[in-house]
């Protein structure tokens, strides 16, 4: 127990790195994911195929493999990503964007076809259909899954520990080795994660309950 208190500042540093990793990757993943989702529902077949391939491949690839590519394989192409924070952000954003795209796409496709048909039949334009009818409904069923994606992202930042970023898990590994494997060290790390993940999980659940509506 004392270990955690004594090393509080080290924990805080690790926590800050994890938080920054999560925040930057989340913004980038949301941006890329939205573009991919838009491509996946675009009426242009070739773009749909490309976006679908992107999403399927990344969703079936381990995140470790993405890191592995950036760190060990990319240099063979003459691209030398500096080992560390920003490379980790790139990997996490790339990987997470596939899940963002999937969440957004299933949200939009989840809106009943009749909704859009009804909207068109009363003479709304494409923009109005999207703005007034489809998106408000899609957003409701997209936000809870997106929060779950972000929770997963928070946990996934730990993979960066294996690639020279000292975030929470990296901090825990150092402290643990320095203190002969004292189990409390990692309990401290676990608490730091739960501080983020459990409230977000509760938020997702309550939001989902609040926005639930009959279809």
């Amino acid at each position: 127990m004392d270990l955690i208190v004594d090393n509080a500042s080290t924990y805080l540093d690790g926590f800050a790195v994890t938080a920054r990793l999560t925040a930057y990757s989340a913004v980038a993943a949301l941006a890329v994911g939205l573009v991919m989702a838009a491509l996946r529902i675009a009426p242009l077949r070739s773009l749909r195929v490309v976006a679908a391939a992107y999403v399927e491949v990344l969703r079936n690839t381990p995140l470790t493999l993405v890191f592995f590519f950036m760190v060990l394989v990319a240099p063979q192409f003459g691209i030398l990503p500096p080992l560390g924070f920003w490379t980790a952000v790139a990997c996490l954003a790339l990987y997470t964007s596939a899940f963002v795209a999937e969440a957004v796409r299933s949200g939009i496709n989840g809106v009943g076809v009749g909704q859009a048909e009804a909207a068109r039949s009363i003479g709304l334009t494409f923009g109005q259909v999207l703005r007034e009818v489809v998106l408000p409904q899609a957003v409701r069923s997209t936000v809870p899954p997106l929060i779950n994606v972000l929770i997963a992202l928070t946990k996934n930042t730990s993979v960066a520990a294996g690639f020279a970023v000292v975030e929470l898990v990296g901090t825990g590994r150092r402290l643990s080795t320095a203190n002969a494997g004292d189990p409390w060290v990692l309990v401290g790390v676990a608490v730091c994660y739960l501080v983020i993940t459990i409230p977000m999980g509760l938020l997702a659940t309550s939001l989902e309950r609040r926005v639930a509506f009959a279809r």
Partner: protein, 296 residues
């Protein structure tokens, strides 16, 4: 395709879409071509970057290389998954049943275990295994996979049980089955069948997460790739990576396809295949929708 947003296109629109599609394809192919030409310029496609796969240097035989990757590497990956998956399933089932206990305070430990472990990174749990509990890398990998996935399996099964119509449990107890009997003979078989696609999809996640063994120095597939690359020389990393990534994709995509096939067969909604991603953190609300929809 995406009929929510668009009317069925007429001939003019169809032509316009076809033109747009072709233009898009040309742009994408051009980008791909530029990328390939750039890679070729770096010598990535020269034979001496690939001969490790058929005629490796340093007096090794190609069979040795492939054996180290596919037998030892993939074998270790599959072994960890094969040991962890049944354990996680059994423990998940126990937790799910525990959560059906009627006494509220008796449920608390099961709820706590599930909520805590699915909120933690698998890698952290692996490190708990190796650093704090003194396991060997294999034990640590299995420990991490089991602890995390049992929580997810418990959630999936619980969602399945909660999604059953109430009448099932009522009918079971009306014909005089005990609680345990009705669970065993009536509720669980239905819940498991309904959630089978999600369970299989979670196996993809488990398999993907086994690659975290790379970080806790368990000699799995990625480690085998890395070892080969470091032994034969960095220029082979591209070829070796292609083999490693291809192996992962082949295994995971076939498991995903199996899950999708199962979900079609069991009549669940299409696209209901859980989460080949490992991003799973199932929200804890029992609902049919939750039960069948893809998790993040």
């Amino acid at each position: 395709m995406t009929s929510v947003l668009y009317d069925a296109p007429g001939p003019v629109t169809r032509r316009r879409e076809r033109i747009g599609s072709v233009v898009g394809a040309v742009v994408v192919l051009a980008l791909a071509f530029l990328a390939l030409r750039y890679a070729a310029g770096r010598g990535v496609f020269q034979a001496d970057h690939w001969d490790v796969l058929h005629n490796p240097p340093k007096g090794q035989s190609a069979a040795d290389v492939w054996r180290s990757i596919l037998v030892r590497g993939l074998g270790a990956t599959l072994r960890a998954a094969a040991v962890a998956a049944p354990l996680a399933l059994v423990l998940g089932l126990v937790l799910a049943l525990w959560r059906t206990t009627r006494l509220r305070w008796l449920r608390v430990p099961a709820v706590a275990v599930v909520e805590v472990f699915r909120g933690l990174p698998v890698l952290l749990m692996m490190l708990v295994g190796t650093l704090a509990l003194g396991m060997d890398p294999f034990g640590g990998v299995v420990f991490g996979l089991v602890v995390y996935n049992m929580a997810i399996f418990a959630e999936i099964l619980r969602a399945g049980l909660a999604a059953l119509p109430k009448g099932q449990a009522e009918a079971a107890s009306a014909i005089g089955l005990s609680r345990w009997q009705s669970l065993r003979h009536v509720l669980l078989p239905q819940a498991v069948r309904m959630m089978l696609p999600s369970l299989v999809a979670q196996l993809v996640v488990l398999l993907k997460d086994s690659s975290l063994g790379f970080i806790v120095s368990y000699p799995e597939l990625l480690k085998a790739i890395q070892n080969n690359g470091q032994y034969f020389g960095n220029r082979y990393f591209v070829a070796l990576f292609v083999v490693g990534a291809g192996t992962y994709l082949a295994v995971n995509l076939s498991l995903s396809a199996f899950a999708r096939w199962l979900s079609r067969r069991t009549g669940a909604r299409a696209g209901a295949v859980g989460d080949p991603a490992g991003l799973a953190l199932v929200a804890s609300r029992p609902s049919r929708r939750r039960a069948t929809r893809a998790r993040p």
